[in-house]
Subunit: 270 residues, 2 copies
Protein backbone atom coordinates (compact mmCIF):
# COMPACT_ATOMS: atom_id res chain seq x y z
CA UNK A 1 0.00 0.00 0.00
CA UNK A 2 1.25 3.45 -0.98
CA UNK A 3 0.10 6.89 0.16
CA UNK A 4 1.04 9.94 -1.90
CA UNK A 5 0.26 13.09 0.06
CA UNK A 6 -2.14 11.03 2.11
CA UNK A 7 -4.07 9.56 -0.82
CA UNK A 8 -3.92 5.92 -1.85
CA UNK A 9 -2.00 6.11 -5.11
CA UNK A 10 0.49 4.04 -7.06
CA UNK A 11 1.86 6.89 -9.16
CA UNK A 12 3.36 10.38 -8.87
CA UNK A 13 3.01 13.24 -11.36
CA UNK A 14 5.49 13.02 -14.24
CA UNK A 15 6.50 16.60 -13.42
CA UNK A 16 7.72 15.77 -9.92
CA UNK A 17 11.20 17.15 -9.29
CA UNK A 18 12.09 13.95 -7.48
CA UNK A 19 11.98 12.27 -10.88
CA UNK A 20 13.44 15.14 -12.90
CA UNK A 21 16.41 15.96 -10.72
CA UNK A 22 16.48 13.56 -7.76
CA UNK A 23 15.39 16.62 -5.79
CA UNK A 24 14.39 14.95 -2.56
CA UNK A 25 15.36 12.62 0.30
CA UNK A 26 14.28 9.23 1.61
CA UNK A 27 14.25 6.82 4.54
CA UNK A 28 13.88 3.07 4.85
CA UNK A 29 12.73 1.93 8.28
CA UNK A 30 12.11 -1.61 9.57
CA UNK A 31 8.63 -2.30 10.92
CA UNK A 32 8.03 -4.48 13.96
CA UNK A 33 4.39 -5.42 14.49
CA UNK A 34 3.52 -2.39 12.40
CA UNK A 35 5.69 -0.03 14.44
CA UNK A 36 8.59 1.86 12.78
CA UNK A 37 11.73 1.09 14.78
CA UNK A 38 13.90 3.97 16.04
CA UNK A 39 11.34 6.41 14.71
CA UNK A 40 12.61 9.37 16.70
CA UNK A 41 16.02 9.07 15.09
CA UNK A 42 14.65 8.42 11.60
CA UNK A 43 12.40 11.43 11.76
CA UNK A 44 15.21 13.65 13.07
CA UNK A 45 17.38 12.52 10.16
CA UNK A 46 14.57 13.06 7.65
CA UNK A 47 14.06 16.59 8.98
CA UNK A 48 17.77 17.31 8.92
CA UNK A 49 18.15 16.02 5.34
CA UNK A 50 15.14 18.03 4.17
CA UNK A 51 16.78 21.04 5.79
CA UNK A 52 19.98 20.63 3.77
CA UNK A 53 17.96 20.74 0.54
CA UNK A 54 15.61 23.48 1.76
CA UNK A 55 12.55 21.25 1.44
CA UNK A 56 9.86 21.70 4.12
CA UNK A 57 9.75 18.50 6.16
CA UNK A 58 6.34 16.84 6.48
CA UNK A 59 4.65 17.00 9.85
CA UNK A 60 5.69 14.20 12.19
CA UNK A 61 2.14 13.42 13.33
CA UNK A 62 0.94 13.06 9.75
CA UNK A 63 3.84 10.76 8.88
CA UNK A 64 3.15 8.58 11.94
CA UNK A 65 -0.51 8.30 10.98
CA UNK A 66 0.34 7.40 7.39
CA UNK A 67 2.96 4.87 8.50
CA UNK A 68 0.32 3.21 10.70
CA UNK A 69 -2.00 2.93 7.70
CA UNK A 70 0.52 1.45 5.26
CA UNK A 71 2.04 -0.84 7.91
CA UNK A 72 -1.19 -2.83 8.07
CA UNK A 73 -0.31 -4.43 4.74
CA UNK A 74 3.24 -5.38 5.81
CA UNK A 75 3.47 -5.19 9.61
CA UNK A 76 6.89 -6.92 9.65
CA UNK A 77 8.08 -5.27 6.46
CA UNK A 78 9.92 -2.08 5.62
CA UNK A 79 8.52 1.43 5.56
CA UNK A 80 9.88 3.70 2.88
CA UNK A 81 9.36 7.45 3.04
CA UNK A 82 10.26 9.70 0.11
CA UNK A 83 9.97 13.48 0.35
CA UNK A 84 10.54 15.47 -2.84
CA UNK A 85 10.38 19.19 -3.53
CA UNK A 86 7.17 18.55 -5.49
CA UNK A 87 6.18 19.60 -8.98
CA UNK A 88 7.27 22.82 -10.57
CA UNK A 89 8.05 24.54 -13.83
CA UNK A 90 10.95 23.23 -15.90
CA UNK A 91 14.36 24.39 -14.78
CA UNK A 92 16.69 23.70 -11.88
CA UNK A 93 15.56 26.63 -9.78
CA UNK A 94 13.43 25.38 -6.89
CA UNK A 95 9.99 26.99 -7.29
CA UNK A 96 8.99 29.04 -4.27
CA UNK A 97 5.44 27.76 -4.40
CA UNK A 98 6.14 24.03 -4.74
CA UNK A 99 4.29 21.74 -2.34
CA UNK A 100 6.54 18.88 -1.29
CA UNK A 101 5.48 15.41 -2.35
CA UNK A 102 5.18 12.98 0.58
CA UNK A 103 5.28 9.29 -0.26
CA UNK A 104 4.78 6.68 2.45
CA UNK A 105 4.74 2.99 1.63
CA UNK A 106 5.28 -0.43 3.16
CA UNK A 107 7.35 -3.02 1.34
CA UNK A 108 8.15 -6.66 1.85
CA UNK A 109 11.29 -7.23 3.87
CA UNK A 110 14.33 -8.41 1.93
CA UNK A 111 15.25 -11.90 3.11
CA UNK A 112 18.96 -12.33 3.77
CA UNK A 113 20.54 -15.67 4.69
CA UNK A 114 20.59 -16.12 8.49
CA UNK A 115 24.31 -16.91 8.29
CA UNK A 116 25.02 -13.31 7.25
CA UNK A 117 24.19 -12.40 10.84
CA UNK A 118 25.49 -15.52 12.58
CA UNK A 119 28.68 -16.24 10.65
CA UNK A 120 29.50 -12.98 8.89
CA UNK A 121 29.57 -11.96 5.26
CA UNK A 122 31.84 -11.93 2.26
CA UNK A 123 32.52 -8.44 0.94
CA UNK A 124 34.13 -7.11 -2.22
CA UNK A 125 35.79 -3.87 -3.11
CA UNK A 126 33.95 -1.79 -5.73
CA UNK A 127 35.82 -0.01 -8.49
CA UNK A 128 33.24 2.80 -8.41
CA UNK A 129 34.71 5.60 -6.30
CA UNK A 130 32.66 8.18 -4.45
CA UNK A 131 32.97 11.81 -5.54
CA UNK A 132 33.65 14.36 -2.82
CA UNK A 133 30.72 16.75 -2.35
CA UNK A 134 30.69 18.34 1.11
CA UNK A 135 27.40 20.16 0.38
CA UNK A 136 25.49 16.90 0.10
CA UNK A 137 27.66 14.52 2.13
CA UNK A 138 25.84 12.54 4.79
CA UNK A 139 22.41 13.27 3.31
CA UNK A 140 20.22 10.38 2.13
CA UNK A 141 19.08 12.19 -0.99
CA UNK A 142 17.66 10.78 -4.22
CA UNK A 143 20.87 11.21 -6.27
CA UNK A 144 22.06 7.66 -5.86
CA UNK A 145 23.63 6.75 -9.19
CA UNK A 146 26.99 6.05 -7.57
CA UNK A 147 25.37 3.42 -5.38
CA UNK A 148 23.55 1.96 -8.40
CA UNK A 149 26.78 1.80 -10.43
CA UNK A 150 28.64 0.20 -7.54
CA UNK A 151 25.92 -2.37 -6.85
CA UNK A 152 25.83 -3.29 -10.54
CA UNK A 153 29.46 -4.39 -10.37
CA UNK A 154 28.72 -7.89 -9.04
CA UNK A 155 25.96 -10.47 -9.13
CA UNK A 156 27.36 -13.38 -7.07
CA UNK A 157 24.81 -14.06 -4.30
CA UNK A 158 27.64 -15.15 -2.00
CA UNK A 159 28.92 -11.57 -1.88
CA UNK A 160 26.70 -9.65 0.49
CA UNK A 161 28.04 -6.15 0.10
CA UNK A 162 30.57 -4.02 -1.77
CA UNK A 163 32.87 -1.40 -0.29
CA UNK A 164 33.13 2.10 -1.68
CA UNK A 165 36.25 4.20 -1.42
CA UNK A 166 36.54 7.89 -2.11
CA UNK A 167 38.89 9.16 -4.77
CA UNK A 168 41.67 9.61 -2.24
CA UNK A 169 41.77 6.01 -1.11
CA UNK A 170 39.74 6.35 2.08
CA UNK A 171 37.16 3.66 2.66
CA UNK A 172 33.77 5.32 3.17
CA UNK A 173 30.89 2.84 3.29
CA UNK A 174 29.18 -0.14 1.72
CA UNK A 175 26.76 0.38 -1.15
CA UNK A 176 23.90 0.27 1.39
CA UNK A 177 25.65 0.30 4.75
CA UNK A 178 28.03 2.17 7.03
CA UNK A 179 31.17 0.58 8.36
CA UNK A 180 33.12 0.22 11.57
CA UNK A 181 36.43 -1.41 12.35
CA UNK A 182 37.79 -2.50 15.73
CA UNK A 183 41.48 -2.04 16.51
CA UNK A 184 42.72 -2.91 19.99
CA UNK A 185 39.23 -2.56 21.44
CA UNK A 186 38.67 0.88 19.88
CA UNK A 187 36.03 1.55 17.19
CA UNK A 188 36.67 3.65 14.10
CA UNK A 189 34.13 4.72 11.49
CA UNK A 190 34.75 6.87 8.40
CA UNK A 191 34.35 10.62 8.50
CA UNK A 192 31.39 11.36 6.19
CA UNK A 193 31.76 15.12 5.82
CA UNK A 194 32.83 14.90 2.17
CA UNK A 195 30.85 11.91 0.85
CA UNK A 196 28.73 8.99 1.95
CA UNK A 197 25.42 8.63 3.75
CA UNK A 198 25.39 8.97 7.55
CA UNK A 199 22.89 6.35 8.67
CA UNK A 200 20.84 6.11 11.83
CA UNK A 201 22.46 2.81 12.90
CA UNK A 202 25.90 4.40 12.63
CA UNK A 203 24.73 7.10 15.03
CA UNK A 204 23.30 4.52 17.38
CA UNK A 205 26.58 2.59 17.46
CA UNK A 206 28.60 5.75 18.09
CA UNK A 207 26.31 6.55 21.02
CA UNK A 208 26.24 2.99 22.36
CA UNK A 209 30.04 2.95 22.37
CA UNK A 210 30.08 6.19 24.33
CA UNK A 211 27.53 4.90 26.85
CA UNK A 212 29.54 1.75 27.48
CA UNK A 213 32.91 3.41 27.73
CA UNK A 214 34.25 2.14 24.41
CA UNK A 215 36.37 4.51 22.37
CA UNK A 216 35.00 5.45 18.94
CA UNK A 217 36.93 7.57 16.46
CA UNK A 218 35.33 9.28 13.46
CA UNK A 219 38.18 9.73 11.02
CA UNK A 220 39.55 9.10 7.57
CA UNK A 221 40.33 5.39 7.27
CA UNK A 222 42.86 4.37 4.67
CA UNK A 223 41.74 1.33 2.80
CA UNK A 224 44.66 -0.86 3.88
CA UNK A 225 43.82 -0.38 7.55
CA UNK A 226 40.91 -2.77 7.07
CA UNK A 227 43.28 -5.75 6.80
CA UNK A 228 44.82 -5.18 10.18
CA UNK A 229 41.54 -4.69 12.05
CA UNK A 230 40.40 -7.26 14.60
CA UNK A 231 36.74 -6.78 13.66
CA UNK A 232 35.06 -5.23 10.65
CA UNK A 233 31.31 -4.51 10.62
CA UNK A 234 28.78 -3.27 8.11
CA UNK A 235 25.61 -1.79 9.54
CA UNK A 236 22.27 -0.30 8.57
CA UNK A 237 18.73 -0.09 9.89
CA UNK A 238 17.51 -3.12 7.96
CA UNK A 239 20.41 -5.56 8.34
CA UNK A 240 21.43 -4.46 11.82
CA UNK A 241 25.10 -5.40 12.18
CA UNK A 242 26.87 -7.84 9.90
CA UNK A 243 30.42 -8.82 10.73
CA UNK A 244 32.72 -9.21 7.76
CA UNK A 245 34.00 -12.77 7.45
CA UNK A 246 35.97 -12.46 4.22
CA UNK A 247 37.41 -9.55 2.29
CA UNK A 248 40.08 -9.82 -0.38
CA UNK A 249 41.58 -13.00 1.05
CA UNK A 250 41.59 -11.88 4.68
CA UNK A 251 39.38 -13.96 7.01
CA UNK A 252 37.82 -12.75 10.26
CA UNK A 253 36.04 -14.79 12.92
CA UNK A 254 32.95 -13.13 14.42
CA UNK A 255 34.30 -10.74 17.04
CA UNK A 256 33.15 -10.38 20.63
CA UNK A 257 32.59 -6.63 20.45
CA UNK A 258 30.39 -7.03 17.37
CA UNK A 259 28.27 -9.60 19.16
CA UNK A 260 28.01 -7.31 22.18
CA UNK A 261 27.15 -4.28 20.01
CA UNK A 262 24.36 -6.21 18.30
CA UNK A 263 22.86 -6.99 21.73
CA UNK A 264 23.04 -3.32 22.66
CA UNK A 265 21.32 -2.35 19.43
CA UNK A 266 18.59 -4.94 20.03
CA UNK A 267 18.01 -3.63 23.56
CA UNK A 268 17.20 -0.09 22.55
CA UNK A 269 15.51 -0.38 19.16
CA UNK A 270 12.29 1.44 20.04
Amino acid sequence: MILVNGQVRDAVPVTDRGLWYGDGVFRTIPLDAGRPLCWVRHFAKLRSDCGVLGIPCPDEIILREELAVVARSEPSGIAKIIVTRGSGARGYRPPRSAMPTRIVMALERTQYPAEFTSGGIKVRRCSTQLALQPLLAGVKHLNRLENVMARAEWSEPSIAEGLLLDQEGNVIEGTMSNLFIVENGILSTPDLRRCGVAGVTRDRIIEAAQQHGIGCKIENIRYDRLYGSQEFWLVNSLIGLWQVREFEGRIWAPGALGLQMRRWLDEESD
Copy 2:
Protein backbone atom coordinates in the same frame (compact mmCIF):
# COMPACT_ATOMS: atom_id res chain seq x y z
CA MET B 1 0.61 16.32 -23.40
CA ILE B 2 2.68 13.52 -21.90
CA LEU B 3 3.27 9.98 -23.14
CA VAL B 4 4.60 7.37 -20.71
CA ASN B 5 5.65 4.26 -22.61
CA GLY B 6 3.42 5.42 -25.43
CA GLN B 7 0.30 5.92 -23.30
CA VAL B 8 -1.23 9.29 -22.51
CA ARG B 9 -0.45 9.61 -18.79
CA ASP B 10 0.38 12.32 -16.32
CA ALA B 11 1.98 10.05 -13.74
CA VAL B 12 4.67 7.39 -13.36
CA PRO B 13 4.64 4.46 -10.92
CA VAL B 14 5.88 5.40 -7.44
CA THR B 15 8.31 2.50 -7.70
CA ASP B 16 10.16 3.92 -10.71
CA ARG B 17 13.92 3.94 -10.18
CA GLY B 18 14.08 7.35 -11.81
CA LEU B 19 12.33 8.66 -8.70
CA TRP B 20 14.05 6.40 -6.17
CA TYR B 21 17.63 6.87 -7.31
CA GLY B 22 17.72 9.30 -10.23
CA ASP B 23 18.48 6.17 -12.25
CA GLY B 24 17.97 7.55 -15.74
CA VAL B 25 18.83 10.24 -18.30
CA PHE B 26 17.04 13.07 -20.07
CA ARG B 27 17.02 15.47 -23.01
CA THR B 28 15.42 18.84 -23.64
CA ILE B 29 15.03 19.69 -27.31
CA PRO B 30 13.59 22.82 -28.94
CA LEU B 31 10.68 22.27 -31.30
CA ASP B 32 10.27 24.24 -34.51
CA ALA B 33 6.89 23.82 -36.18
CA GLY B 34 6.60 20.56 -34.28
CA ARG B 35 9.99 19.28 -35.43
CA PRO B 36 12.73 18.49 -32.85
CA LEU B 37 15.82 20.48 -33.86
CA CYS B 38 19.15 18.68 -34.20
CA TRP B 39 17.40 15.38 -33.57
CA VAL B 40 20.21 13.21 -34.91
CA ARG B 41 22.60 14.66 -32.36
CA HIS B 42 20.11 14.55 -29.51
CA PHE B 43 19.28 10.92 -30.16
CA ALA B 44 22.96 9.98 -30.42
CA LYS B 45 23.57 11.65 -27.07
CA LEU B 46 20.54 9.96 -25.49
CA ARG B 47 21.79 6.59 -26.70
CA SER B 48 25.29 7.29 -25.48
CA ASP B 49 24.06 8.41 -22.04
CA CYS B 50 21.80 5.36 -21.73
CA GLY B 51 24.83 3.26 -22.59
CA VAL B 52 26.87 4.70 -19.72
CA LEU B 53 24.17 3.66 -17.26
CA GLY B 54 23.48 0.34 -18.97
CA ILE B 55 19.87 1.26 -19.72
CA PRO B 56 18.48 0.01 -23.07
CA CYS B 57 17.83 3.08 -25.23
CA PRO B 58 14.32 3.39 -26.66
CA ASP B 59 13.91 2.82 -30.36
CA GLU B 60 14.51 5.94 -32.45
CA ILE B 61 11.45 5.43 -34.65
CA ILE B 62 9.17 5.12 -31.64
CA LEU B 63 10.63 8.25 -30.06
CA ARG B 64 10.14 10.21 -33.30
CA GLU B 65 6.54 9.07 -33.51
CA GLU B 66 5.87 10.01 -29.91
CA LEU B 67 7.58 13.38 -30.31
CA ALA B 68 5.32 14.10 -33.29
CA VAL B 69 2.26 13.32 -31.16
CA VAL B 70 3.18 15.48 -28.17
CA ALA B 71 4.50 18.32 -30.37
CA ARG B 72 0.98 18.97 -31.62
CA SER B 73 0.15 20.60 -28.28
CA GLU B 74 3.27 22.84 -28.26
CA PRO B 75 4.71 22.98 -31.80
CA SER B 76 7.07 25.84 -30.88
CA GLY B 77 7.76 24.55 -27.41
CA ILE B 78 10.29 22.21 -25.86
CA ALA B 79 10.32 18.46 -26.02
CA LYS B 80 11.53 16.66 -22.95
CA ILE B 81 12.49 13.01 -23.02
CA ILE B 82 13.22 11.07 -19.83
CA VAL B 83 14.42 7.47 -19.92
CA THR B 84 14.69 5.63 -16.61
CA ARG B 85 15.69 2.08 -15.77
CA GLY B 86 12.06 1.38 -14.92
CA SER B 87 10.50 -0.16 -11.84
CA GLY B 88 12.17 -2.85 -9.80
CA ALA B 89 12.48 -4.35 -6.38
CA ARG B 90 13.91 -2.18 -3.59
CA GLY B 91 17.69 -1.96 -3.58
CA TYR B 92 20.36 -0.28 -5.65
CA ARG B 93 21.08 -3.30 -7.82
CA PRO B 94 19.62 -2.76 -11.30
CA PRO B 95 17.07 -5.53 -11.86
CA ARG B 96 17.83 -7.63 -14.90
CA SER B 97 14.21 -7.73 -15.92
CA ALA B 98 13.36 -4.03 -15.62
CA MET B 99 11.63 -2.45 -18.58
CA PRO B 100 12.89 1.11 -19.10
CA THR B 101 10.35 3.88 -18.60
CA ARG B 102 10.09 6.19 -21.62
CA ILE B 103 8.58 9.61 -21.02
CA VAL B 104 8.01 12.01 -23.91
CA MET B 105 6.37 15.37 -23.35
CA ALA B 106 6.06 18.84 -24.84
CA LEU B 107 6.38 21.90 -22.62
CA GLU B 108 5.90 25.59 -23.09
CA ARG B 109 9.07 27.39 -24.09
CA THR B 110 10.72 29.48 -21.39
CA GLN B 111 10.61 33.14 -22.44
CA TYR B 112 13.92 34.93 -21.98
CA PRO B 113 14.36 38.66 -22.57
CA ALA B 114 15.41 39.31 -26.18
CA GLU B 115 18.32 41.41 -24.91
CA PHE B 116 19.94 38.26 -23.49
CA THR B 117 20.65 37.31 -27.10
CA SER B 118 21.18 40.79 -28.56
CA GLY B 119 23.13 42.50 -25.76
CA GLY B 120 24.50 39.68 -23.67
CA ILE B 121 23.84 38.55 -20.13
CA LYS B 122 24.94 39.17 -16.60
CA VAL B 123 26.41 36.10 -14.93
CA ARG B 124 27.34 35.27 -11.36
CA ARG B 125 29.72 32.82 -9.81
CA CYS B 126 28.07 30.06 -7.76
CA SER B 127 29.53 28.92 -4.48
CA THR B 128 28.32 25.38 -5.17
CA GLN B 129 31.27 23.45 -6.55
CA LEU B 130 30.97 20.41 -8.78
CA ALA B 131 32.25 17.11 -7.45
CA LEU B 132 34.61 15.14 -9.68
CA GLN B 133 33.05 11.88 -10.86
CA PRO B 134 34.66 10.58 -14.06
CA LEU B 135 32.21 7.64 -14.26
CA LEU B 136 29.25 9.98 -14.78
CA ALA B 137 30.92 13.10 -16.19
CA GLY B 138 29.38 14.43 -19.38
CA VAL B 139 26.19 12.41 -18.97
CA LYS B 140 22.84 14.21 -18.69
CA HIS B 141 21.55 11.91 -15.96
CA LEU B 142 18.80 12.51 -13.42
CA ASN B 143 21.16 13.17 -10.47
CA ARG B 144 21.04 16.94 -10.70
CA LEU B 145 21.07 18.14 -7.10
CA GLU B 146 24.27 20.12 -7.66
CA ASN B 147 22.52 22.10 -10.39
CA VAL B 148 19.49 22.63 -8.17
CA MET B 149 21.65 23.83 -5.26
CA ALA B 150 23.58 26.17 -7.55
CA ARG B 151 20.44 27.61 -9.18
CA ALA B 152 18.91 28.20 -5.75
CA GLU B 153 21.77 30.58 -4.88
CA TRP B 154 20.23 33.63 -6.57
CA SER B 155 16.83 35.00 -7.49
CA GLU B 156 17.63 38.34 -9.18
CA PRO B 157 15.98 38.21 -12.64
CA SER B 158 18.78 40.38 -14.03
CA ILE B 159 21.25 37.54 -13.53
CA ALA B 160 20.71 35.07 -16.35
CA GLU B 161 23.05 32.31 -15.35
CA GLY B 162 25.48 31.14 -12.68
CA LEU B 163 28.91 29.62 -13.24
CA LEU B 164 30.01 26.39 -11.63
CA LEU B 165 33.60 25.60 -10.81
CA ASP B 166 34.98 22.23 -9.84
CA GLN B 167 36.71 21.74 -6.52
CA GLU B 168 40.10 22.49 -8.04
CA GLY B 169 39.22 25.96 -9.33
CA ASN B 170 38.53 25.08 -12.94
CA VAL B 171 35.44 26.67 -14.46
CA ILE B 172 33.22 23.91 -15.86
CA GLU B 173 29.81 25.18 -16.99
CA GLY B 174 26.74 27.24 -16.20
CA THR B 175 23.93 25.69 -14.17
CA MET B 176 22.14 24.89 -17.45
CA SER B 177 24.72 25.70 -20.12
CA ASN B 178 28.18 24.97 -21.46
CA LEU B 179 30.77 27.69 -21.87
CA PHE B 180 33.33 28.91 -24.35
CA ILE B 181 35.89 31.67 -24.18
CA VAL B 182 37.71 33.39 -27.04
CA GLU B 183 41.36 34.36 -26.63
CA ASN B 184 43.21 35.83 -29.61
CA GLY B 185 40.71 34.29 -32.03
CA ILE B 186 40.98 30.80 -30.51
CA LEU B 187 38.10 29.08 -28.73
CA SER B 188 38.49 27.17 -25.49
CA THR B 189 35.86 25.10 -23.70
CA PRO B 190 36.25 23.16 -20.46
CA ASP B 191 37.30 19.53 -20.44
CA LEU B 192 34.27 17.63 -19.11
CA ARG B 193 35.84 14.26 -18.42
CA ARG B 194 35.60 14.63 -14.65
CA CYS B 195 32.37 16.59 -14.17
CA GLY B 196 29.76 18.61 -16.02
CA VAL B 197 27.26 17.83 -18.76
CA ALA B 198 28.51 17.73 -22.35
CA GLY B 199 25.70 19.31 -24.34
CA VAL B 200 24.76 18.99 -27.98
CA THR B 201 25.30 22.69 -28.71
CA ARG B 202 28.83 22.46 -27.30
CA ASP B 203 29.53 19.65 -29.77
CA ARG B 204 28.03 21.68 -32.59
CA ILE B 205 30.24 24.66 -31.80
CA ILE B 206 33.37 22.52 -31.58
CA GLU B 207 32.53 21.11 -35.03
CA ALA B 208 31.58 24.46 -36.54
CA ALA B 209 34.92 25.89 -35.39
CA GLN B 210 36.73 23.01 -37.03
CA GLN B 211 34.78 23.42 -40.29
CA HIS B 212 35.59 27.12 -40.47
CA GLY B 213 39.25 26.83 -39.58
CA ILE B 214 38.95 28.30 -36.08
CA GLY B 215 41.05 26.74 -33.36
CA CYS B 216 39.14 25.18 -30.47
CA LYS B 217 40.85 23.77 -27.40
CA ILE B 218 39.17 21.41 -24.93
CA GLU B 219 41.10 21.90 -21.73
CA ASN B 220 41.02 22.78 -18.07
CA ILE B 221 40.27 26.49 -17.77
CA ARG B 222 41.34 28.19 -14.59
CA TYR B 223 38.66 30.50 -13.33
CA ASP B 224 40.75 33.69 -13.59
CA ARG B 225 41.31 33.14 -17.31
CA LEU B 226 37.73 34.28 -17.87
CA TYR B 227 38.63 37.88 -17.07
CA GLY B 228 41.23 38.13 -19.80
CA SER B 229 39.08 36.58 -22.53
CA GLN B 230 37.90 38.70 -25.45
CA GLU B 231 34.58 36.86 -25.65
CA PHE B 232 32.78 34.63 -23.21
CA TRP B 233 29.72 32.60 -24.28
CA LEU B 234 27.19 30.36 -22.58
CA VAL B 235 25.36 27.92 -24.83
CA ASN B 236 22.70 25.24 -24.81
CA SER B 237 20.05 23.83 -27.14
CA LEU B 238 17.29 26.09 -25.86
CA ILE B 239 19.06 29.44 -25.49
CA GLY B 240 21.41 29.01 -28.42
CA LEU B 241 24.41 31.24 -27.71
CA TRP B 242 24.38 34.00 -25.14
CA GLN B 243 27.40 36.28 -24.91
CA VAL B 244 28.39 37.30 -21.40
CA ARG B 245 28.11 41.07 -20.93
CA GLU B 246 28.98 41.30 -17.25
CA PHE B 247 30.72 39.00 -14.79
CA GLU B 248 32.15 40.08 -11.45
CA GLY B 249 32.73 43.65 -12.54
CA ARG B 250 34.27 42.85 -15.92
CA ILE B 251 32.28 44.10 -18.95
CA TRP B 252 32.33 42.61 -22.43
CA ALA B 253 30.82 43.99 -25.63
CA PRO B 254 29.17 41.42 -27.91
CA GLY B 255 32.01 39.85 -29.86
CA ALA B 256 32.23 39.31 -33.59
CA LEU B 257 33.06 35.61 -33.35
CA GLY B 258 30.05 34.99 -31.12
CA LEU B 259 27.78 36.71 -33.65
CA GLN B 260 29.31 34.64 -36.44
CA MET B 261 29.00 31.42 -34.48
CA ARG B 262 25.32 32.09 -33.80
CA ARG B 263 24.77 32.45 -37.56
CA TRP B 264 26.55 29.17 -38.20
CA LEU B 265 24.40 27.45 -35.57
CA ASP B 266 21.23 28.88 -37.11
CA GLU B 267 22.27 27.68 -40.57
CA GLU B 268 22.55 24.00 -39.64
CA SER B 269 19.96 23.48 -36.95
CA ASP B 270 18.05 20.64 -38.55
